[in-house]
Amino acid sequence: MAFDPAHLDRTAHEHAAALRAGDYTATALTEATLERLRQQEHLNAYITLTEDLALRQAQEADARLRVGEGGPLTGVPVGVKDLLSTRDVRTTAGSRMLEDFTPVLDCTVVERLNAAGAVTVGKTNLDEFAMGSSTEHSAFGPTRNPWGRDGQGNLDRVPGGSSGGSAATVAARGVPLSLGTDTGGSIRQPAALCGVLGMKPTYGRVSRFGVVAFASSLEQVGPIGRDAEDVADLLQAIAGQDQMDSTTAPVPVPDFKERFARGLDGLRVGVPAEFFGEGLDPAVRQPVEAAIDAMEAQGATIVRDIALPSVRAALPVYYIIAPSEASANLARYDGVKYGFAVTDGLSAEDEMARTRGEGFGAEVKRRVMLGTYALSAGYYDAYYLKAQKVRTVIRGEFEAALEQCDVIVSPTSPNTAFRFAEKLDDPYAMYLNDLYTIPVNIAGNPGLSIPCGFADGLPVGLQLVGRPFEEATLLGVAHAYEAIADWNRQAPPPVGTQG
């Protein structure tokens, strides 16, 4: 039966309903999706398109749908960040180091996605080893933000990062859903800059097994989508304890849509001053304040006297802990066992050094050096240990603040999507992009970015932060907000092959 390409603008739950009703098949949807992704090649949202795999999965989904066994993701196309191991499909981590690396197994999250019957269409672009906030640090070239156009109509803005490919392809209506990873804002910030929803679940909610590690104690896999229902459905599929990841929590997985009927009445919304201070672009502040007002108008109580004084230390704490863990996590890439290797060195040591010198990009090397320094004898107490102590303080402050309110709101990012190369030579300016998202990784709480308006034609994101393992609260708020504001339904102009 014919498939109307306009259907590709639908959300995942709309597809799921149509697939179950037999309006179209998963195979037709997948073929059309792959066709659109080829048309959108100019976005550079994908490092690898897995067309054969997707069509095979679509056929399996159709078989399930025919016997009435389809779930909310059965037959639904999903993009997968290329940091997540996929069996027999190369997994590059956006690095030259792993350009030809093919894992022998699926990560737990992809395994669960497969079990849910989802169709994985490809591996999305990212900053190398998830280190970056613009996807410009990818060995496979930057991803383009479908929203940002210069006077000639060329796409000239970054999608954010590191999950820039995952956010851009969802924003451009390439796929309804994608998976990202978030170590310091890598899901929420690109979601904000691309005008879609992105959630970092509570640390320990989702398995990291098979996710190429950057900073183990901070990162989580999470969903990116265009409405709260889709995000809830994808989180539902991937969440839960995993015996292969000892850091997943033995906490029951609730129905993430259990608060969809509740609305905003009586909700206590915390607005900490620390997230509205210096560095926040006034053009971003305006729609964020408007969103808070809209919530208040719907019956929410705005709580402004909550304090998170130590979040000002979150950025330095992050840039000690994350690079320290990264320096160890990336030590395995030495050219001895797999991946890129220099083989004409003068000695084994020379080959290992040159492999790492040539295989890693500048930002990765910067962070490995930062981390190596912070852990060195004589510096450990002053840096790593002190950072861990501050981390405990920050976690305590979030806990106390979330006793006074049900969710904390803030801008997701202090600015909208910036132009290519604008911050590339100024690492600190780049790091400031994650000023509001990083504290949430430091504390481990769940965070969700939802579209809340535009500034100069570019999307602005509102960050919701909840208590540990209360993702359902955040999704309930997002769902209620969608009923009063349709920012999440705004689509960028179609992305053609010319950009």
Partner: protein
């Protein structure tokens, strides 16, 4: 770089100097699977790289899951050695680049090991001594590098089978003063591990590896001298010899007015000397930090008690019990408790033999049984032969009831070790029953007196020892089946009465 020390063995340097020795001992635990994955732990005599998976190969994104059996074994070792078992412990990453370290770091324990303190009582030259322990911690073993040189080039192959095997590291205080003491410590440590059945601790197979920190100081001085770390010792004997050499080398350096350099020296088995490998300046900075992939361990009292309940009686306690319960000498008890299996075989035989036969059973185990086992190898056990504790028990019964003589018993046991037949059956089938008919023995005695007038004359002229010859003659005539005491008294009766 390597210099062979020129030691004059004729000079007794120990007159002036006292050696201080501490050991670092690595023991492979006999768990079913590896430390952090489900691969078969056994690597001895295995096809290279046949016991590996993505986890112990250090593939990207793989996570460790702690082997609970290895933790229980380590705590068992700690309890056996009188260590404190802290409630809180954790794993750390020890970072250093080497091709045999697949992740570029080793998961080990830094400042919160499973076991603290403890001691081991040993005996050196009959003198009791106590060696105190610093700690015992758990870590993972590395892969093995197999160095090759085919003439054209030298290279190394990597066998990952050993990678990720559980390794227990035990560090002693600098409590020992001679090579013999270090050797006695290792022997006792191995026996304890084998009693616990948590490790075979065979040095030749690399299941127990030992480094020694050796320093010397003028006798009576409190401050420790500069320590030298001695490595590459592959047997208890080489540990003893390496330490003895190193003590004398250091004494000679000092005697000649030189200074001891803090360094690592390797023992060369073939020449019996230690050679310099690396000085302190080249020492690694391991940049330890807490392993973020493994939550800290919290051990409650109940868990520790459950492990304690699974522990067998230990060598010292068993030895003391054997002495009092079976009226054995300290030496006899020590021999019978040298291995757990032998001590259990002995007690099984005592039970099977019924009351009152402990001593003849013990004498059989210490004497003839041990002689047969030694022929099979230094550490041979009864279970490797067709003889069971029931055989020994039955033979002890035959001896006690004088149904066989001591000479016949040896013959019977030899046959049992050949065929596995029970002793009573052997005696029956081969007509080996002792001659208990005094008339028959007396008849032989009469004949022997008749045939040996010289001996009779000697005896009567006061040379009482001549009777031994006559007893031997009677015994030979009786084919060893006569009781020597009976023979002796019958002969005496005849000779003294003049007939």
């Amino acid at each position: 770089m390597t210099t062979q020390a020129n030691v004059d063995y004729n000079v007794d340097y120990n007159v002036d100097y006292e050696a201080v020795i501490g050991l670092e001992v690595h023991i492979q635990l006999k768990t079913r699977s590896k430390m952090f994955c489900s691969c078969d732990r056994e690597y001895f005599d295995t096809e290279p790289n046949s016991h590996v998976c993505a986890i112990c190969l250090g593939m990207p994104g793989m996570l460790p899951v702690v082997n609970e059996q290895a933790v229980a074994y380590t705590i068992m070792a700690g309890l056996a050695l009188g260590c404190d078992i802290p409630t809180h412990s954790k794993f750390d990453r020890k970072n250093y680049p080497y091709p045999d370290l697949v992740k570029g770091y080793q998961i080990s324990q830094y400042d919160q090991p499973f076991c603290l303190g403890g001691k081991l009582d040993i005996e050196v030259d009959g003198e009791p001594r106590t060696v105190h322990l610093e700690r015992i911690h758990l870590e993972e073993d590395t892969a093995r590098l197999l160095h090759r040189d085919d003439g054209a080039e030298a290279y190394a192959l990597i066998d990952v089978n050993r990678s990720g095997s559980p390794l227990m590291e035990l560090v002693t205080q600098p409590d020992m003063h001679s090579g013999a003491e270090a050797s006695a410590f290792l022997h006792k440590l191995r026996r304890t591990m084998r009693y616990l059945q948590i490790a075979d601790a065979d040095m030749e197979k690399g299941q127990l590896r030992c480094d020694a920190n050796v320093s010397i100081r003028p006798r009576g001085q409190e401050a420790l001298g500069t320590k030298v770390e001695v490595k590459n010792m592959n047997s208890f004997r080489s540990v003893q010899r390496a330490i003895e050499f190193e003590i004398e080398r250091q004494a000679q350096v000092l005697a000649e007015g030189g200074r001891i350099v803090q360094e690592t020296r390797g023992y060369v088995d073939a020449t019996g000397v230690t050679v310099s490998q690396r000085s302190k300046e080249e020492a690694n900075d391991y940049r330890y930090f807490p392993e973020p992939d493994i939550p800290p361990t919290v051990l409650d009292e109940a868990t520790t008690q459950a492990i304690r309940a699974r522990m067998p009686e230990l060598p010292d306690a068993r030895r003391a019990r054997f002495e009092s319960e079976y009226s054995l000498s300290p030496d006899e008890a020590r021999t019978l408790t040298d291995s757990r299996e032998r001590s259990e075989d002995f007690e099984a035989a005592v039970r099977a033999a019924g009351g009152g036969l402990a001593r003849p059973v013990a004498l059989l185990f210490i004497g003839e049984v041990a002689r047969h086992l030694n022929e099979l190898g230094q550490e041979a056990e009864l279970s490797e032969t067709p003889v069971t504790p029931a055989h020994v028990a039955e033979l002890a019964g035959l001896l006690e009831r004088r149904e066989v003589t001591g000479t016949t018993a040896k013959e019977v046991l030899a046959i049992a070790f050949e065929t596995g037949e029970m002793p009573a059956a052997i005696v029956e089938a081969r007509g080996l029953k002792a001659v208990s008919d005094e008339g028959a023995i007396d008849e032989i005695a009469a004949r022997m007196i008749e045939a040996n007038p010289k001996a009779v004359e000697d005896y009567r002229s006061g040379k009482k020892s001549a009777i031994g010859f006559l007893v031997g003659q009677v015994m030979r005539e009786a084919k060893g089946r006569a009781d020597a005491n009976t023979v002796s008294s019958l002969l005496r009766k005849r000779l003294d009465s003049g007939s």
